[in-house]
């Protein structure tokens, strides 16, 4: 036998057919934005010379450090509130026999799905200058509103807004926990409370840590609530500072870019911590995946008090929505009004006569659906290629798919504004669609990656051996098997895109209105009545579409996949 030349590894079929085009698309989408922001941050205002001046300014003027400090304080406070509320709810709902589970889940789902800007406006009706709270407790009239607009109030409001998200991150691990581990603690002599805090909490530590860092990442980049509440008392964070630098009469784009890069660096730290925590979560073998249902802790006398506690907490996450619902039916500007209200539908009819509102609603829905579709298709292919093949392209794809996670909405908005201001895309809905796609790619990757990992490789190999080309393998085997997860991802992205304010705040205008900025602008300039009615309409439309999506996914999984 003669020695023959060794076979050099070649690019897999999947990388060639799908990986390369996706790589080109992602590079084309992301690289110009990054380049633009970096150039802005490192050049002078006329763009004629490179300089570090923009960062030096932040460092030197004192305000910059204050803002950085505010951002950290805000992130810590709001994350703490969110995790605390979520944990208390999750432990009681998932590990004990307290009643009211369905009501809690329903409220948290509502809180989760409602855009932050709507949460914020609802809260200003509760705790703002003429808030309901101070009407009920008049002796707090003096300190109440100031407290509400301060760091403290902002953290409470933001924490309650992110609590449902934190809940949905930690609840699965708690639900999947093997109750025998808890029972062992009881047998060993631990009381109920000790068991819940030492064993149950201890066991869920990895997923808890992951939730902490992910929520921290979301909070540090968050814009809506600090803009609605914090700025009123001069509590400025990085994201709102970027906004105000751009919204000035003489915008300071260079300073804004520098601030947004600082923000991205803070985000990278949170993201690295998050990846470490999730890597650890995978190694934590004690949480068994089986759906144990038995073995909930019997609370006996504590059942009802616990149930009341979780229902009150969950209620707090939706109370601003309910207040807005109430407000939307109150005609006239006299609010809060407990006995003197006049009710009617006039606010809703005003929606139609307010310029841009209907258009923004339609735009948001259509763009959200399109973004969901595009992101899901793009990322399922990306995940498929990266799960099944390992080469230079897939490694790059992996990284490209994660980069937008650290690019805050406000940074991207600035980058889109500066990159496309002179292009035909400016002022068009397509620019907003592209922004949505870039922003939600990492989320799509998270959903689709785990779905593709769940498809055993042999199922695909069997199809290859049976004579199927890679495209056929994807279409006939992979796609149908991950379809249910794709629908979940699609619904998530649709809902989340409806929430967007910061991502589009600089690029959405009269020519391409979407709901987030419209609500924000309307709230700053005119009557709260229309804002309330419109918000209610947006929430309703969102949930109707999600409901329809859920129905379709049930039908699909039941009929097409059989």
């Amino acid at each position: 036998m003669t020695r023959v030349a060794p076979m050099r590894a070649r690019l897999g079929q999947r990388s060639k057919i799908f990986g390369l085009p996706i790589m080109v698309i992602l590079l084309a989408l992301i690289v110009p934005l990054l380049v633009r922001i970096v150039i802005l941050a490192f050049s002078n205002s006329t763009g004629t010379a490179a300089t570090l001046d923009n960062f030096v300014r932040i460092w030197n003027n004192g305000v910059g450090l204050q803002i950085l400090g505010n951002t950290l304080l805000y992130t810590l406070g709001a994350t703490f509130v969110a995790i605390l509320v979520a944990l208390v709810i999750a432990i009681i709902v998932e590990r004990t026999d307290a009643p009211g589970r369905i009501a809690v889940y329903a409220m948290l789902a509502l809180g989760f799905g409602v855009p932050s800007v709507i949460h914020g406006i609802g809260w200003t009706l509760i705790g703002g200058r003429v808030g309901i709270l101070w009407n009920i407790f008049p002796w707090l009239q003096d300190v109440g509103p100031n407290l509400f607009y301060s760091w403290f109030g902002l953290c409470i409001v933001t924490g309650l807004r992110f609590a449902p998200i934190a809940f949905f991150l930690v609840a699965p691990a708690l639900r999947a926990m093997d109750p025998s581990l808890e029972e062992a603690a009881r047998v060993a002599g631990a009381g109920r409370f000790r068991m819940l805090t030492r064993i149950t909490l201890g066991l869920s530590r990895p997923s808890l840590l992951a939730a902490v860092f992910l929520v921290g990442l979301l909070v540090v980049q968050h814009f809506d609530l600090p803009a609605l509440i914090g700025t009123q008392s001069g509590f400025i964070v990085l994201s709102t500072e970027v906004y105000s630098l751009v919204q000035r009469n003489f915008p300071d784009y260079n300073g804004a870019a520098a601030y947004s890069i600082v923000l991205a660096i803070v985000a990278v730290i949170a993201l690295v911590a998050y990846f470490r925590a999730t890597a650890q979560a995978k190694r934590f073998g004690v949480i068994s995946g089986k759906g144990y249902r038995s073995g909930r802790v019997r609370l006996e006398g504590w059942r009802i008090p616990s149930a009341i506690l979780v229902i009150v907490l969950a209620f707090c996450t939706v109370v601003p929505v309910l207040v807005l619902l109430w407000r939307s039916f109150v005609t006239g500007n006299d609010f809060p009004c407990f006995t003197t209200c006049t009710y009617g539908f006039s606010n809703f009819s005003d929606i139609g006569s307010t310029a841009g509102l209907i258009t923004s609603g339609v735009n948001s829905i259509v763009l959200g659906l399109l973004a969901g579709l595009i992101v899901v298709l793009l990322t399922v292919l990306l995940s498929w290629v990266t799960v099944r093949e390992s080469n230079r392209i897939t490694r790059l794809l992996d990284q490209l798919g994660s980069i937008p996670l650290v690019l805050s909405g406000i940074l991207l908005s600035l980058a889109f504004l500066q990159t496309y201001a002179k292009s035909f895309l400016y002022n068009s809905v397509f620019l907003i669609l592209i922004a949505y796609v870039v922003f939600y790619i990492p989320f799509g990757v998270r959903f689709t990656y785990s779905a593709v990992v769940g498809v055993r490789g042999e199922l695909e190999e069997a199809a290859s051996v049976a004579g199927a080309r890679p495209t056929t393998v994807f279409r006939r085997i992979v796609f149908p098997l991950v379809l249910p997860s794709l629908l979940t991802a699609f619904v998530f992205i649709f809902l989340a895109s409806m929430e967007q304010l910061s991502l589009v705040v600089f690029i959405s205008g009269a020519g391409n209105p979407v709901v987030g900025p419209e609500i924000f602008r309307l709230w700053q300039t005119s009557s709260i009545s229309v804002v309330a009615a419109f918000s209610v309409g947006v929430v309703l439309a969102g949930f109707i579409i999600v409901g329809a999506g859920w129905l379709i996914s049930r039908l699909v999984t039941r009929h097409i996949l059989r």
Binding site: M1, M7, A462, S464, A466, L561
Partner: protein
């Protein structure tokens, strides 16, 4: 007879942080038309890697593979035909039944992947195959609602429907329970004979290999040790490992000593490292006295006799030897017993004794073996 499968110099390394694995060492063999060819070896020896290389699911670093007249892999020409283009059918260890398709669609899939519309004759072909594998009438059944044995037939039907030149089976019986495994083994053999398809079968179960195969290839650590008919590999293992693996044979070390001139050709005398005399068939040429050797004898190739209190061999000749031993353990196994003994010269051997011998621990016994069923190998030539 023509070779349907030709494998030449197929070499494969996996690279890894731990220095990687040399999974296949220049493997070469041929499989004839209609033959049932089995790859056997211990876990991790590269059987699956080789089978997947035949299917095109794994790319060897070097070598040549052709199926029928078709060259499917040739590293010197940088030819690597994609799996979907190769005329192979494959049954996976996990069956890889597609859960979102029913029984009919699973089997129809290979035909649907062909150019042209799915025709009436394709439909007939699917029904025909389902009939052959005993799943007629199950067409509309959800594929995941089948029993283990039925899923196995389904996987087989799916592999056969496209009339491949070569059928590849990777431990298809290992997921079944013991009873079903025996039934399905017979069924598999019947089907293979009926369809007449050339088959490469991977297993690490020696009884499966011996009962099903026309020829067997024994692997160890990525190396092909011996190819031959079941009788050949069982009765004339080319290396100690083959005997140990296929017959569960005992092996111990010794050295060759001069034989009396009366001894038949091909037979030699050895002294175990503990000093006992053993005679056996010389495996390999130019074995000369003084060589270090490994002595292999299967558990069913020795007689065990009791009642000799002296412990000395009862009778010996040029081609018969005896070993004194004591009983260490005795396991009754139905029609036979597995007895573990410690020989006087310090080896632990397994012996199979028919029926239920009356043995107690510590009994002195004599083992009698024959040169015909005892094999002597040069130690240096063997693969460790």
């Amino acid at each position: 007879m023509t070779a349907v499968l030709r494998v030449e110099g197929v070499d494969k390394r996996f690279h890894g942080a731990d220095g990687g694995t040399h999974a296949l060492h220049e493997i070469g063999f041929e499989v004839e038309e209609g033959e049932f060819f089995t790859l056997i070896g211990p876990s991790g020896c590269g059987k699956t890697t080789l089978l997947r290389s035949l299917a095109g699911l794994e790319t060897p670093d070097a070598g040549l593979i052709s199926i029928g007249d078709l060259s499917v892999f040739d590293s010197s020409r940088r030819l690597n035909m994609r799996p979907e283009k190769r005329p192979t059918g494959m049954v996976f260890q996990s069956y890889a039944i597609w859960p979102h398709m029913n029984v009919f669609e699973n089997v129809a899939f290979p035909l649907r992947c062909r150019p042209g519309r799915f025709s009436q004759s394709d439909r007939k072909r699917v029904s025909e195959i389902l009939e052959i594998v005993g799943l007629g009438g199950y067409e509309r059944r959800n594929a995941t609602d089948l029993s283990g044995g039925q899923q196995q037939r389904l996987a087989l039907g799916r592999a056969l429907v496209g009339e491949p030149r070569l059928l590849l089976l990777d431990e298809p019986l290992s997921n079944l329970d013991a009873l079903l495994r025996v039934t399905m083994r017979a069924e598999l053999k019947r089907l293979q004979r009926e369809v007449g398809i050339t088959t490469v079968y991977v297993t690490h179960d020696q009884s499966e290999a011996l009962s099903l195969s026309d020829r067997i290839a024994v692997f160890k650590s990525g190396q092909l040790l011996q190819v031959g008919s079941p009788e050949e590999v069982y009765n004339r293992p080319a290396q100690p490992f083959v005997g140990e693996f296929l017959g569960g044979a005992n092996a111990f070390d010794g050295s060759l000593v001069p034989s009396p001139s009366s001894i038949p050709t091909g037979v030699g005398t050895a002294r175990s490292s503990g000093g006992s005399r053993v005679v056996g068939t010389l495996m390999g040429d130019a074995l000369t006295p003084g060589d270090d050797v490994r002595i292999v004898v299967r558990p069913d190739a020795m007689q065990l006799s009791t009642g000799n209190s002296s412990g000395a061999p009862q009778f010996e000749s040029d081609t018969i030897y005896g070993l004194a031993a004591t009983i260490n353990q005795c396991m009754f196994n139905g029609s036979f017993s597995e007895v573990m003994v410690d020989t006087a010269d310090g080896f632990r051997l397994n012996v199979i004794v028919p029926g239920t011998p009356r043995l107690t621990l510590g009994d002195s016994v004599t083992l009698t073996g024959s040169a015909e069923q005892t094999y002597i190998y040069r130690t240096t030539g063997a693969v460790a």
